[in-house]
């Protein structure tokens, strides 16, 4: 059974049809590359899964049950986590503080509860170890490399039992070595049975890490196939419109 199923989802803003009758299903432990030119509807689609937008038509199902999201916090409660393009990190805080931002651990009783620094450092350290990232929980994020910053943002998604992780352009604007690091982080998520949606413009990254590629053009899904049976040339053609549509 697919973990997430979108059935005939559409979204329009006034007269503009941003997403038009798109159906997608996601399996656990699968990495799906979501590609398309600017304005193809990728972001709108992802924002509906993340609870930022409400679909105009169509239904979403999570583990077979209908999913209605009113705000981003709802999505998080259902185990849908997002790694934002700008990572949404606070430079002035430590790695551990960023991982726990908005859901800090506290100890004590009743109204007298204080931040539990020890537990947060410890758990954040474990998450970085799981991700095989050399990131120290006590370091300030402003002193970190791009790869480490990605690790912090990804560790955040692992705090709760996430089922789906949406990643918006995680490999844009970082060095080659750091790209390899991030792709490894994505594989670690997949190995834990998490479904990962990777939005990217970078063809090599998608073909390196994804199991399946979905291409969107002008709000429609124009391709949805196994990476093994596709090629960068074909995907490029689909994105630009040189190839109209493939089954």
């Amino acid at each position: 059974m697919p973990v997430l199923e979108l059935a005939n989802i559409s979204k329009h803003f006034g007269a503009i049809q941003a997403v038009n009758d798109v159906s997608i299903s996601l399996e656990a432990g699968e990495v799906v590359g979501l590609m398309g030119d600017n304005g193809a509807g990728k972001s709108t689609l992802v924002k509906m899964i993340a609870g930022n937008f409400h679909p105009s038509h169509g239904t979403m199902r999570l583990d077979g049950r209908e999913l209605v999201l009113h705000k981003p916090a709802d999505a998080r409660q259902h185990g849908i986590e997002i790694v934002h393009q700008d990572l949404a990190l606070c430079n002035n805080l430590t790695a551990a503080a960023n991982v726990y931002l908005g859901r800090e651990l506290r100890r004590g009783v009743g109204p007298f509860r204080i931040l539990d620094y020890g537990a947060m450092y410890k758990r954040a350290g474990q998450l970085f170890a799981e991700l095989k990232s050399e990131t120290r929980p006590r370091d300030l994020v402003k002193q970190m490399s791009g790869g480490q910053r990605q690790a912090v943002a990804i560790a955040r998604t692992m705090l709760s039992q996430a089922k789906i992780v949406l990643m918006d352009e995680p490999t844009a604007a970082i060095s080659v070595r750091q790209v390899a690091e991030v792709l490894n982080l994505i594989r670690h998520l997949r190995d834990q049975g998490i479904a990962v949606v990777l939005i990217s413009h970078r063809m090599p990254d998608v073909f390196d890490v994804a199991d399946r590629v979905i291409v969107m053009r002008r709000g429609r899904k124009v391709a949805d196939k196994k990476i093994a049976s596709s090629s960068p040339e074909e995907v490029t053609g689909l994105i630009t419109g040189a190839i109209e549509q493939v089954a």
Partner: protein, 332 residues
Amino acid sequence: MAVTLDQTIAQKQHTFLSRLFSNQTFWVVIAVVLACLFLSFATDSFATSKNIFNITRNVTFVAIIALGMTFVIITGGIDLSVGSVLCLCSMILAVTMHAGYSIEIGILASIATALAVGAFNGVLIAYLGFPPFVVTLGVLSVARSLAMVASNNTVVFQFGPDHQKLLALGGGAWLFGIANPVLYMIILALITGFILRWTKFGRHIFAIGGNEHAATLTGVPVKQIKVAVYMISALSAGIAGIIQTGWLGAVTTNLGTGMELQVIAATVIGGANLAGGVGTALGAIVGAALIEVIRNSLGLLGINAFWQGTFIGGAIILAVLFDRIRNFRRSD
């Protein structure tokens, strides 16, 4: 490979000393201590108990408001209205007590006024998206004008039946001969320090100052917290106003004029960053202390009072200069 991943992750990059030396507040403390030592030797009148009593008490009014301002500045905001709010709250207290009400009712009315003004600032800034500078600049003007309206621009120096209680509250020394305002300042500083370091609220304040967008995306209640910090700032001004009323024994409508700039100077000297994300309770106190020591020492050293502004302004620029130099080195 001798070093495992776990060892790397567990490693602490900064020792206690390296953190201390890279801390602006630490250097300001050193500056205050050195200045005090120098003055003790250079003048006969500095290290007298009377002068120390005076300095500590003078520090407190600016320091207490600086504590409240620290919250606002950490979120990346600014509150220019504190001087006027201090005046308004003093005046509300004075007028209420003058009319024959008890000190409790007077203080209650004064605190309620402060919270209302703070909530007004906060709601306009957080929910309607006004720039903090503009809103609080407007309230700076409004609050002082309301103080004039409340008192008909007169000096109030008779506080009804609880007159003596009020003077004791602000002017007494209930513990070991330490002036009451100083005691209040220490208690408020401890509370501020605790909130900033140990509570979720404090953590979220830093997060908003670091990256407001990120704080929103991760589910931090940004708007509510912003309203709260402006209420805290106004509350600190109200508390300072109540204490100052008891200490002075009279309230005029020019009380606290220009105080907002001293308060902001104190927080910045103490290490808070106007861009947001950085600030401590201790910094607010030592910043206020440095300003007062400079002012006091110029008088004792027989330097013309006209020079005060130059020295205090120099201290502000020098304190931030150290911070800039450290950043230049880091970016190299």
